[in-house]
């Protein structure tokens, strides 16, 4: 296929970039992330618009618990770290450690989802639902879209673990590990903004 010029003169090249396909897909994935960022931006914009449109329902100050969202945040930050370690071990060719770190990440992801589900159900029980107000609609959909991304990430990670276990680390699986890593870190970045614009700001405004 057409030559890819970027990598040929580099002294060291990670496995995931070694095939043209691999380097194309990683590049394409960056583009996807850039687009996904804009998707979240729209949800953020809508949420910020509606912060005070509570229609008599509960407001952010009444709903957000510092302890809960801090646990979620730290959990996700640590999972981003462990996911980074998985990529690192993958590059070292260490299949077992890669799988192990991925599993740790996955568990942290599940814990995060667990907390989020608990948070949401708690709110619904207090009568704060998707249908209560524009504020809550935009809150649930913004945070929920992130949660949805995380859930898809978990499923995806399971597939990759299965493939790593059966096929070992090769150009293809290495690429997949790298890409899920990008995805996971990206979700962490989105969460940081959620944490800032939704939870912390919710305490201030």
């Amino acid at each position: 296929m057409a030559a890819v010029t970027n990598h040929n003169n580099k002294p060291y090249e990670p496995l995931e970039y070694s095939t043209e396909e691999g380097s194309l897909r990683i590049f394409g994935f960056w583009l996807f992330l850039a687009a996904d960022m804009v998707l979240f931006a729209c949800l953020f914009a809508t949420y910020l618009m509606y912060i005070h449109h509570t229609a008599g329902g509960p407001s952010s100050k009444e709903l957000f618990e510092v302890k809960d969202f801090m646990i979620e945040t730290v959990d996700l930050l640590v999972s981003s770290f462990t996911c980074g370690l998985a990529t690192l071990e993958m590059r070292r060719g260490n299949k077992k450690a890669t799988i192990a770190w991925l599993i740790v990440t996955l568990i942290l992801g599940l814990v995060f989802i667990g907390f989020e589900v608990k948070e949401f159900t708690g709110m619904v029980q207090e009568g704060a639902t998707l249908q209560t107000s524009a504020f809550l609609t935009s809150f649930f959909i913004l945070v929920g879209t992130h949660g949805c991304h995380v859930s898809i990430g978990i499923l995806w990670m399971l597939c990759i673990i299965a493939q790593l276990a059966t096929r070992g680390i090769n150009a293809q699986t290495a690429r997949k590990v790298f890409i899920i890593g990008l995805y996971w870190h990206f979700l962490d970045v989105i969460w940081i903004f959620l944490f800032t614009a939704v939870y912390l700001t919710g305490l201030v405004l």
Binding site: N9, P14, W30, L48, L77, C83, L88, R91, I192, T196
Partner: protein, 104 residues
């Protein structure tokens, strides 16, 4: 560029993952700093929000550079794409708020 690149990878191949640990510590510090700003100060909301948004942006950079290897592969194009995406995201958020809330 390639020089620095090789070294980074060399340290990745052996030894303790310093880069990752530093990344984690930095992000934890930034997170708690933001929380601290919100819970411990009685500045104007505008000021606090500005500060925590700046902290969030810094943290995004930590992720991009410490964990996401944005400087590998088609470095220039990747950074451009993310940068342009960030620009559009900014336009969407700032524009919407300007139009819908603070129309002057």
């Amino acid at each position: 560029m390639s020089n620095e690149h090789t070294q980074a990878h060399a340290s990745e191949h052996t030894g303790f993952p310093w880069k990752h640990v530093i990344g984690l510590v930095l992000s934890l510090i930034l997170t708690f700093a933001a929380l601290w700003c919100v819970t411990s100060f009685a500045f104007s909301p505008a000021l606090i929000v500005t500060v925590i948004v700046i902290l969030a942006v810094v943290q995004a950079f930590v992720q991009l550079f410490m964990f996401m290897h944005i400087t590998e592969g088609s470095k220039v194009w990747q950074i451009t794409a993310i940068g342009f995406g960030a620009f559009i995201a900014f336009c969407v958020v700032a524009g919407t708020l300007w139009i819908m809330l603070f129309a002057l």
